[in-house]
Amino acid sequence: MTRLPGSEAPRPADGAVPGSAAASDPDVALMLQVQQGDQSAFPELFRRFGPRILQYVRRLVKSDARAEEITQDVFVQIFRFRERYRPESKLSTWVFTIATNLALNELRRPERVLKVDIWDTRGQDERREGPSLPDPNAISPEEGAASRELARALETAIAELPPKQRAALLLSRVDGMAYRDVAEALGSTEGAIKALLFRATHSLKDRLRDFL
């Protein structure tokens, strides 16, 4: 087993029982390998979560370039704080918590608001920021019953939701996380998540009235 230079001697995380949790969840097993300094585990972790995190952050921040930056930051944070992960919780919840925090921080930055205003005055061709439309080829007929036009309208409607509603909706409906996990990722309660989802779906149904 090759070891990362910053890793300490192999040991399980405090209070962790690698055998039971790792045996049932391969993600947890992978993260335990990262904690123990296995150099080959982190690229595997990136390959497993990178595409999902990139897509999630892209939909949250509505910019491909910033989504890529944040995705990098997410994995650097995962590495730096790897000792804080406890196998009692799902790895995906922990990873999405980091991604959500970084993405929402990005959305709160004042210079981002300024940039959006600047882009709004430009022509559509010059726009590099703003709502990112989906790749039409990414949705195949087998994967979704929706047409390309409907998928585009849906992505645009999601992009217009407030950030927290958007995050809750994406985690719950697209990534299929339970309310409890969504609440953990957003640092909120299940009741608040229910309210966010109700408002989000209500808005989407209004905006997609012609398609539903």
């Binding site: 990136f46 890529e68 949705i139 019953a145 409906r173």
Partner: protein, 229 residues
């Protein structure tokens, strides 16, 4: 059940997060209310659309390489950092915040007027320079004389020997003289110094420059304006 509540519960029902008597009550309401049934159908169609959205997006090789390179740099940084500077994992942000609050509270307590009513406590470790003078006899029920008078009396008895204290050099201002820093940058830094720049720092620098530019512009314009009156 009212339609408003039924529609709130529909969201949870679609997510399979509604159970027990609530699910049964919603079923009963939907059986009687055509409008809510229609809303439920729309909710289910929307859910199907959302579930059909692509869960992930292809990650470019460049992004993967950049990310893993940053992780390797972070790992190398950890390896170079002395172990004594690493905080234990149980020291998290709340613990640090609580410690800071406690430190401030202790400082405020020590500086509050209630504690300064009596004689000011001496700082620990401060030894007066007249330690060779024999101690005066203890006088009960009388306050000790002020320290300056005490020193003057001691000077009458025997002039204090000049005590040669070891000279303590101030910390070197030149960072290259600090012993805990390497004399040369690590090879990774020497080959690609831009990789070591903190992105947040750069963002803050951009912000500062932006605000500085605004302020400069405003001052300049104000200078060009004629004075009032």
């Amino acid at each position: 059940m009212r339609c408003g509540r039924a529609q709130r519960w529909m969201t949870a029902a679609v997510d399979a997060e509604l159970g027990g008597w609530r699910a049964q009550a919603l079923e009963r309401h939907l059986a009687d209310c055509a409008e809510c049934r229609q809303e439920q159908d729309r909710s289910e169609r929307l859910d199907a659309l959302l579930a059909g959205l692509p869960l992930d997006t292809p990650v470019s090789t460049q992004l993967e390489q950049d990310t893993l390179r940053r992780v390797r740099i972070a790992a190398a940084d950890e390896a170079e950092r002395p172990a004594r500077f690493r905080l234990p994992t149980w020291i998290t942000a709340p613990v640090l915040a609580a410690a800071a609050v406690l430190a401030v509270a202790v400082g405020v307590t020590r500086m509050s007027p209630t504690t300064t009513a009596g004689p000011a406590p001496e700082a620990p470790g401060v030894v007066p320079p007249v330690a060779s003078v024999p101690a005066p006899a203890p006088r009960l029920a009388k306050a000790p004389p002020p320290r300056t008078a005490d020193r003057a009396a001691a000077a009458d008895v025997a002039p204090p020997e000049p005590v040669e204290t070891p000279r303590v050099d101030p910390p070197p201002s030149d960072p290259s003289r600090r012993p805990d820093l390497p004399s040369e940058p690590p090879p990774e830094l020497a080959s690609a110094p831009d990789l070591f720049m903190d992105l947040n720092l750069l963002r803050n620098m951009e912000k500062l420059q932006h605000y500085d530019a605004i302020e400069t512009t405003t001052l300049h314009e104000q200078d060009g304006e004629p004075p009032n009156g």
